[in-house]
Symmetry: C3
């Protein structure tokens, strides 16, 4: 189902020997069914492991961005959320998304089970794996924003709900062939479905949580950087490079097929546009911070790469190289000013996840019609609003309920002591004896 939906933007392919004919959205090819099956499955597996590795990228980016007293907890959150997402997406998520009736709103609460057939064109397990790592990515996005003051196990509970229920529902709306697909919404690899979803869930979380103690002064300005300095810029840098690498899988694999001339060409184009958008994001953030603030802010360059990548994700196939660079550059600029915007509302997003994923994701989705004639601005707006609002509201309710039931925020003393000590009992950097 996802195949057909996504294929709308990829006009030509087929799995069978037929020289011309094919059903809508399948490219013509004379590659045999079984060879095509292996190619398509291989695409999902390779792109799947690249996206899986993004979990490590988020762990590094966030470990580097938090203060050195909250690093072990970030590591625990990231390895834990990936584990939780994997199980939840098997237990309920996949069928909640793909068991949806055509044009519908929600699938079924049943575990996924394998049922591969040659006719499907790819192995069912490889598709599950590829979709699972997308689900985990969504959860990874929201782990960093709430760092340094959230309790560990409430976060894990939220991760289970986000990966098992919230994300699968919006995923089904579009990639499962639900109501958003029916109205013509277009989101190739998930600028909105994945990235805004993660960002909106995080936004709800940080509103309920409140900022770290001492993050803003009495006038609402962020405190000078020192007490909240990033623990390790090289870690952030590895993290961003790993995410950039993983994004080739994220966007490239969303072509959903490799086994034809047309698919191979399309994936190559996607790689190029994905890369160029990130380039644009990096350089835009570098120039903007240098001109506006006097110094070339490496953190904004790194987050600018993410902003560019998120922005191109809604449509990495149709743009020209120049368009990809520009879309990415705007994504990078959005990150810089989005960070300021959150500050002005005294919202404390520790790693800048909301500007990079939610804001840039909204932008990227809205501009799809500029490069892809099949998309309409109206449908894009409906998709962006419905998903962001739905996720934000549900997440807000879930966080609120958890907060009232058992509290989601650590004490001021715990923050002062460091969440590593209070939550995991393991200090992160015993660099000096």
């Amino acid at each position: 189902m996802i195949k057909i939906i996504k294929k709308i933007s990829v006009p030509l392919i087929s799995l069978f020997f037929l020289i011309n004919m094919s059903s809508a959205g399948i490219a013509e090819t004379n590659i045999s069914a079984e060879v095509g099956f292996v190619f398509n499955t291989l695409l999902f597996l390779i792109c799947g492991f690249l996206v899986m590795f993004m979990a490590a990228g988020f762990a590094m980016l966030e470990s580097g961005m938090v203060t050195s007293k909250s690093v072990s907890v970030i590591c625990a959150k990231n390895i834990g959320l990936y584990a939780i997402s994997g199980i939840m997406f098997w237990l309920v998520g996949y069928n909640l998304a793909y068991g949806i009736p055509e044009g519908g709103y929600i699938g079924t609460f049943t575990p996924w089970s394998d049922s591969s057939s040659l006719e499907a064109g790819y192995s069912a397990g490889s598709d599950w794996f590829f979709q699972m790592v997308f689900c985990a990515t969504t959860v990874s996005i929201c782990s960093g924003a709430m760092a340094e003051r959230i309790k560990l196990w409430p976060f894990f509970l939220f991760a289970a709900i986000l990966s098992g229920v919230i994300y699968p529902i919006v995923m089904g709306w579009q990639w499962g062939g639900g109501w958003l697909a029916t109205i013509g919404f277009s989101d190739f690899a998930g600028s909105t479905l994945v990235h805004s979803t993660g960002g909106a869930a995080a936004l709800a979380g940080i509103i309920i949580l409140g900022p770290r103690f001492g993050r803003f002064d009495s006038k609402g300005n962020p405190k000078a950087i020192q007490p909240f300095a990033a623990s390790s810029i090289p870690l952030v840098t590895i993290g961003v490079f790993v995410l950039w690498l993983g994004w080739f899988g994220f966007n490239g694999g969303s072509q959903l097929a490799l086994g034809s001339f047309a698919d191979a060409v399309a994936i190559s184009t996607i790689f190029i546009n994905t890369n160029l958008a990130a380039c644009g994001g990096v350089l835009a953030a570098a120039v903007v911070t240098r001109l506006l603030f006097g110094k070339t802010d490496v953190i904004q360059m790194l987050n600018g790469a993410i902003g560019g990548l998120v922005a191109i994700t809604a449509e990495p196939l149709a743009p020209s190289p120049l368009a990809a660079i520009l879309i990415g550059a705007v994504g990078g600029v959005i990150v810089v000013f989005g960070t300021k915007l959150l500050f002005s509302f005294k919202l404390d997003d520790v790693v800048g996840a909301i500007p990079a994923h939610m804001f840039a994701g909204i932008f990227g989705t809205l501009v799809v019609p500029i490069t892809n004639a099949d998309a309409t601005f109206g449908a894009q707006l409906i998709g962006v609003l419905s998903i962001n609002i739905f996720v934000f509201v549900v997440a807000y309710i879930v966080w609120s309920i958890m907060n009232s039931l058992f509290g989601i925020r650590l004490s001021k003393e715990a923050q002062a002591k460091g969440t590593d000590v209070t939550e995991t009992g393991v200090i992160a950097y015993a660099i000096r004896d």
Copy 2:
């Protein structure tokens, strides 16, 4: 030969499209011989580079787990052992394993040479590469346990013997079609052959070496964590994510063929089960440490992932998703209690390699018959005992001889000063000027 042996556990998923019946162990397919050859070779190359990258994963995990005075040496050991393994496995290892007579005990002492033919179904070089990185993994496993008090060059000598002789011998017993294969032992990707082998060699080593000075107090209890604190939890976390990533290659590539519907489906299943087992290991360790010790121990979560991965490695294809989660969860619990067990014997395994690799490997191998009807408990027990005992005894003898010839342990002064200073002359973290 390995192909035929391992294929026993990959039965008839494929009963479609069988125009050409093929010999035992080759999945039925109508993909042409040359296309299949390229697919199979590509599988070995991709999975091979993933497993190669596990060398980096071990280097990071171990660098992060040791104290900050012994990090450069760990880096030297890990890059060095990978280099040594690569050369030894060419010089003697491969043919010692695969030159074995059917049902036999040992192959030939000759260097590997290339001899690819289309009929083999994959390029000989790609197979060598894939098997070599398994060999290197075995050696990587034992590098961390003995950290902080072993001399560098004796370790390198042992690495040469383990990669050139010990591992290839046990590998030949099973994957070369030797006596263990004949009796029906089943170990898909090496829970015992690789992981227990590495762990048993490490166990012999730490017994001979003794614990770090000051690791246990006079009553035999481990000292409070501070003086032996892990140098960097983010490094451990990257390491574990890299290992998790590499494991898709480790287990997926052990299907040994990609070029058919059946193989593509099988590899997808292996990816899923490998992932779910690691998820189970992480969460089991999180829950157990939280309930028993009050805090969610991030180190045990990370090692729990390894325990889960090792446990599923003996049979990543047959289990259902639920079974994979449970097998992995038990692997994670084994890591937690295995660590305690070693403490109780005053054995100082710096990075927890023995619980994660040897203990979880034994468990994973013994439970194969539960999910794979072709395996028998008797054969599994024989395989586990013979390999673990053989490796332990030979490694014990080798370590003992080296110890009496030139001593393998650094002085108390060297440990106090830090092995980085005494062995490599390079301090690991010059974070502060």
Copy 3:
């Protein structure tokens, strides 16, 4: 064009199975054109993302090697140069290289545009992507040598010139079918074209820049290590492992085709030789430093891996395993003594890039005729001299002009304060509160 050129060194491994004769440089195969197209494109994409990840490897290696006051800037340089290279290679680089007339000297100043056809044998976009990451690698090489005293934006400007003009010109001479290809120069994956080019550009840069303040004492001896100690050896180690991993893509992908028996066999051989050369480099550096200097220098082992990899890159297909080990070992030794050589000239190459890339690259290119009978020493010498001299001279002029226009060197005060503070305003390691 590159395909045909490079194929010269991949001769007739394949004279089997030749039902369909094919044009010069395309291996005989009976794989259909479209299946071959997908395989070849897939090779470029996989190897391309591996080489892309080398950008992260350089970032880590260099972050770990510089002092802790200049780490954020190194991160900014590495993410920035990769972004710049991607855009410049699209804007002008690719066609400057491949738009060259046969036997000519320079291509055209036009942006790249996609034009895929089945007949080409691979998607044009995948080829662009693969060539782009090579271009970025060239720039990465020269970012570390000049660390800790160069201004950020002049470096970015140079990166644009190197990636957009200098590298593409020499690339066109050989891989575009220009004059060096015509005279029979042989450089399979770029020991000279990529690695010496990066190294020669760096050499020009450090001559103009001068050493870091205080690097050499009044007698010209390097100061004791402490004030210039590497910030993190584990980071260097990750970096080297990532580069080693990426090199499988770098050399393996330079076979330029996967879709035949012969190509699959060749790539397997390339993987093996690439790996063994690195092994040789590591061990040679370990032995040499242990014997000459008393301690096993882990930094030289790590750089030795790079030296070995660079040395084999000119011809990773023809050598036997033993020859590959020896070539790599000499590469490792060159790194050790090349580092001393630079010291003796008071040249301050912060990360050892020039010995590892330029010197080992020259060696590797010159010894190609020993293992590849198609190459001649005369042509190799002409290629090495022409490229190294051209790049050095042009880079020297560019650096000089920039230096006289606006100065490329930071002040003594900035170095003392740390370039992280002055250039990006972000300290790299806020490990301690």
